[in-house]
Symmetry: C2
Subunit: 423 residues, 2 copies
Amino acid sequence: MTTATLSVSEICLAAREASRGLATVDRAAKDAALEAIAVALINRTPEILAQNAIDMEAGHQAGLSTALLDRLELNPQRIAAMADGVREVIALKDPVGECIEEISRPNGLRIRKVTVALGVVAVVYEARPNVTIDAAALAVKSGNAIVLRGSSAAAHSNAILAAVASEAIASAGLPEAAISLVAGGGRDELKELATQDSIVDIIIPRGGESLKAALSAVATVPVIYAASGNCHIYVHSDADLSAAKAIILNAKTQRPGVCNAAETLLVHRDIAAEFLPQTLGALAEAGVELRVDSRARALAPDLANSTVEAIDEDWEREFLDLILAVAVVDSEQEAINHINRHGSGHSEAIITTDPEVGQRFQLGVDAACVYVNASTRFTDGFEFGMGAEIGISTQKLHARGPIGLSELCTYKYLVDGDGQVRP
Amino acid sequence: MTTATLSVSEICLAAREASRGLATVDRAAKDAALEAIAVALINRTPEILAQNAIDMEAGHQAGLSTALLDRLELNPQRIAAMADGVREVIALKDPVGECIEEISRPNGLRIRKVTVALGVVAVVYEARPNVTIDAAALAVKSGNAIVLRGSSAAAHSNAILAAVASEAIASAGLPEAAISLVAGGGRDELKELATQDSIVDIIIPRGGESLKAALSAVATVPVIYAASGNCHIYVHSDADLSAAKAIILNAKTQRPGVCNAAETLLVHRDIAAEFLPQTLGALAEAGVELRVDSRARALAPDLANSTVEAIDEDWEREFLDLILAVAVVDSEQEAINHINRHGSGHSEAIITTDPEVGQRFQLGVDAACVYVNASTRFTDGFEFGMGAEIGISTQKLHARGPIGLSELCTYKYLVDGDGQVRP
């Protein structure tokens, strides 16, 4: 929707109105609207690139880093990939209208608990413009109106992408206001968005800790944080050490900048002397900076030059980089305690050959995803078979783990009677 | 737990610690602890009555209303009823450890989505002391530690009840700190409790709008409001008018002080002339004060003395009393729009003989429970077959409708592999 002249609250009210219509639209109509978005992205590629060029030029002038400019840049291949992403969402099943539970009561009442759209979903995100389309597609499929608030660095790119998407769904008969973008990227707009109680049903921020802090200070709308991951790999005394080595190397180095990468390695004392020197050597060779506790350091004297002594803060850090904290623990329970104290409740793994030990770890560790003998890097909507997601929640309420189509829904109870009154 | 000397944050930390142990306890141990509570309530009745007498005496001196004193008063029958309530919770199935979904991935990963306790649940409530036991029993059964914060008027009663319950579960081998009571009833304690992020997992207030306002201003812990109900009955043009009359009489008068009682009656214009005079007459006879719009008033000239003209605020009010707002509408869609604009998303009903009209109403109305041909008074954990509940949520996130054992749980993903790493 063209929203440049509307206030945040006007945009949200229009989205609320649009959400009423969208909530009861059937799958065919939603999929047709998504296909219209995919087609429009390809057809309007020149317009999108022209607007993106304005952001890129401003980014160059503002001295944005190469990494940020790369995140910001669009090209025909990236736009085609967005269109493909929309078509992947078309292929997912409709999350709305599923009967989760059916209860027949002795008095003849029939109660069905049925999934329905949440209503209005707001997504707050940083530079990458493709989130505009990814999030909009998930919202349309789940019958929600979406209010997007990107960063000012991507303002022109986001505006044209949101316009392309909302005009496309309007051409397919859905309300144009079901997809809209808040124009300003400032803290005032963020606060106004985060306080639209009973108009916006949920805010999902995708971004770092500063965005989280800014939101939690002001939000009265419920927030689900697609939050940070301080993930651990614990190698138990009976572990297959070659599997353990492969898993920690994968979890740390395959893509270190993401939330499901490992940040701390915990090793049982009984196998530490055998496991640590070779594994730390391989990690160091892969370019990983190692912050190790004194026990681990003593076991790998050859690596004295490749390691530094860990400080307390290292156990809390999400490095998002080729840095790993390493500690030796005396028991499985000490590993569980360490993880529950320092972890962020994202993804945690144990390497063990004893299924009972694995099960106890899965029960005892308080996190969204608890692995036995696998890399934490699998925590992801696609890897879980759920399809596209908006992020990974480390909260316990409503959505824990990947936030996909089902998590963008709530439920209601439909109760059918034939005149029942309460005695 | 004896908590008089501990600060709110110390109580919460002890509860968090206790919750780790409780989360993995099996059903038999939890049920045994609940049985110990039921037995202790009976055995320690004299102590409980002695402490309650102190609150009653203070209440008399403070000039509490008869209604409030009645809510506060305990006697052997009421204590026995609490014990019975605990035994009803024993009979409910364990909500923890249920596999909601199982996914096998092509790479051999097995992913199970399993229900687990939330961790630490805080319940904030007003005078009635039995909530202490009801809420504690639900928490123990769902593997959660609970922090209770009652009103100062019931301080002695709540303290002895919490002590009886926590000592009973300790005697059965569960951590005593799994049930504790915040001593002070002031706003400072409320604020401290509501800001224990990452220690307390959820706060459930049971109380009026002032408690809700006090909490939403300060809470950083997620809150689920067991909130107010502005419930509607809409009588469609094809309704069975005698069923409609029985339902509105039941929904308004059977127990007017509760959240699932009806507050507004909407009537389709085509049957208003036939339906309204007799139904309004019956309601007036039952002692209901009628606040009617001008169209309805014109149709019931004989009732001019029993009705007053509705003002705008009447459509928004949860009267919780023998008062009913009444309006004539031109269409089913106007009724849906009225409800979505003015309702609180609790319980809404249509009376119609056309299943398609009923279905459209159920789809279009945005509320926790949407009825066709039944009284809204059935929105209740027991009436829904879920057993005891802490309240009715009008929120859309996590829990909508009755907040029972399942809603006191979250889930985690347990992922089992044999060495998988991400390519």
